[in-house]
Amino acid sequence: MKTALDNDLNKVHEVFNQDHKRLRETLMASLLKRPKQGEQTSRAAHIRVFIGDTIMKSRMIKIAAAVVIIIAVMIGINQFGGSVDGTSVAFGEVLRHIQNSSYTFDLATVAEGEVSPTVKGMVLRPGKLRIDAPQVMGGVSTIADISTKKYLLLFHGQKAAMTEIPGAESASDGGSFFAFFMSPVENLWNLRDGTEKSLGEKEIEGQPAVGFQVQQEGKDYQCEIVVWAHAETGRPIRVEITIYNPEDRSQSTTMVMSRFDLDAELNEELFSLEPPEGYTMAYQKTLEETITATESTPQAQKIEQSIALWSEGKEDEAVETLLSVDWTEPIQFSDKMYLFSLTEKGYVALKLQDQQRLMNEISETLAQIRGLIRELWNVARTSRSSRDYQKAELCLETSLNLGKLINRDPKGILFTQSVGFSIRRKSLDEMAVLYKETNRQEELQRVEKEIQEVDAERQSFFEGIKSKFGGQ
């Protein structure tokens, strides 16, 4: 039976569901780019919780690695044609169809029982390949030249391009799949020994089909390719490529190509290896190449000084310095104050090790700012309780202004933007409490309006991230 105490205890606990959705979003956004375990041990690592880290690099690399696997398979498929000697005539016929046409197909990947969204593949003779995955991370396209084995990855959501995967040289440590694709392509798909096995006839996608199976085995991989082709025309209907982990065959990845259109007319421009205008080449520049020698303005210098004082443990001085900033004066930071000066595009263009270095520095600066801002809020609360409302207001205005400064450039690094929103929102909440207490209705209304604006801005920011990075 429900008692009054039970009801009250329910109410006591309801409050812990408050803001749950937003907090979950922030946490999940921060997990998008979680650093590897042990990579960061400083308290800077923990700032990621607060800021909702949404940097893109590792997700891009992960997708790029997956896409390159697909490219390698496709390159392999296109090597079929030169190796039909000794195989059955029917099999050779199927391979000739694949080899001699420009065509399109659907490609689905199944790994550990999970089916990835189907992507569209296009092959243009001679030897060009394009795969479009509009549903992945705001749209990803891969373009490859099969003969030179060069490729270009386009991340349309971020307007970023890649021609190599950072860390790929050590990718062979990552498992058999990479080892498989690091072998020379010609060796992988050497079918000249005539060992392909007939799978007989079967109805596939409503059509009479004949099937062939080819096994490949190397030191570090095992692979099975099944080709189903129309029983009369020899045109491919479905090609299934399964790569096994030789140490544990229950671990496998299967790529299924289907819905072939062998009469497709394809525009050659779609296969250009030059990045489209407005796309940033990722992982190309060093930090030194990116920054120029510029000076911070006096008010910006005060902010820098305040952060430095905080990091030295001179907390009272740090607060006083920050409170002395004249926010009506121009505030411009030198390039070396990365948190305020670097854009997301600039960040994406950096080489991977510089991105990591920079991210550590920015995280450290954000940790200092977070501490400083919290101290400002504490001082504001203390001032409020001792009825020094002017001081309380100054502290909250200062923290709000710092939040606005972080959000000033919408092209700024994404995860710092997230911090800016949090600081602004919390500062405004505290201001609302202050104005309620002092019965300043006009200011209260202004703050409440601003809270709505920040919420809308933040929501649109997170929606933007979702559209760029996908909803996961």
């Binding site: 006591v12 606990h13 749950h20 979950r24």
Partner: protein, 179 residues
């Protein structure tokens, strides 16, 4: 529809399915916030601290030996993190003059006096009893879930929960009498 077990979700996260972690978060975040609140006595700080707990847990998930014990393990991380927070806070305590506990407890929370009183009293309970209340009221009032998180038998859990409620009742009566 049955909910996926903690074990299944933990394994999915380790296999790279981050969305599974969102489900674990939904399941345990309110409880972790409540535990953190007992230390911070301020909702915003409790929310931040809970986020930190979830991030730590995520980073160490591969070290979790028994995925069935995720809840218990997470609560352990939360308690550890709360102790760290308290130590950091103690070092800077002299800077927070003017904010007594009652004020802190009241900030950001409900205006209902009775509920506020109760919240203050929960904080005054022994840790085990607090945890029993939080797990029970934030885990769908399931004694099974709660006892697993606390590592108690079913009857053992009910004993602690009853003790907590009884003590709260006594504290309320004492307060009403102005003691």
């Amino acid at each position: 529809m049955t909910m996926p077990s903690d074990k299944k979700l933990v394994r999915a996260v380790i296999a790279g399915e981050k969305s599974a972690y969102a489900q674990l978060y939904d399941r345990y975040a309110p409880l972790i916030r409540a535990i953190c609140y007992d230390t911070t006595r301020n909702l915003a700080d409790a929310q931040d601290l809970a986020q930190d707990v979830f991030m730590r847990a995520y980073e160490k998930l591969e070290h979790l030996r028994d995925p069935n014990c995720f809840g218990k393990w997470l609560v352990g991380i939360a308690r550890l993190r709360c102790r760290e927070w308290w130590r950091q806070r103690s070092r800077g305590r002299d800077r927070h003059v003017g904010l007594n506990e009652a004020e802190l407890v009241q900030s950001n929370l409900s205006n209902d006096c009775q509920v506020e009183r109760l919240r203050r009293m929960i904080i005054a309970l022994p840790e085990k009893e607090r945890l029993a209340l939080h797990t029970f009221y934030l885990q769908g009032k399931s004694a099974d879930n709660s006892r697993r998180i606390m590592g108690l038998s079913r009857s053992g859990f009910y004993r602690v929960l009853d003790r907590a409620r009884k003590r709260l009742g006594e504290l309320l009566v004492q307060e009403q009498r102005g003691l």
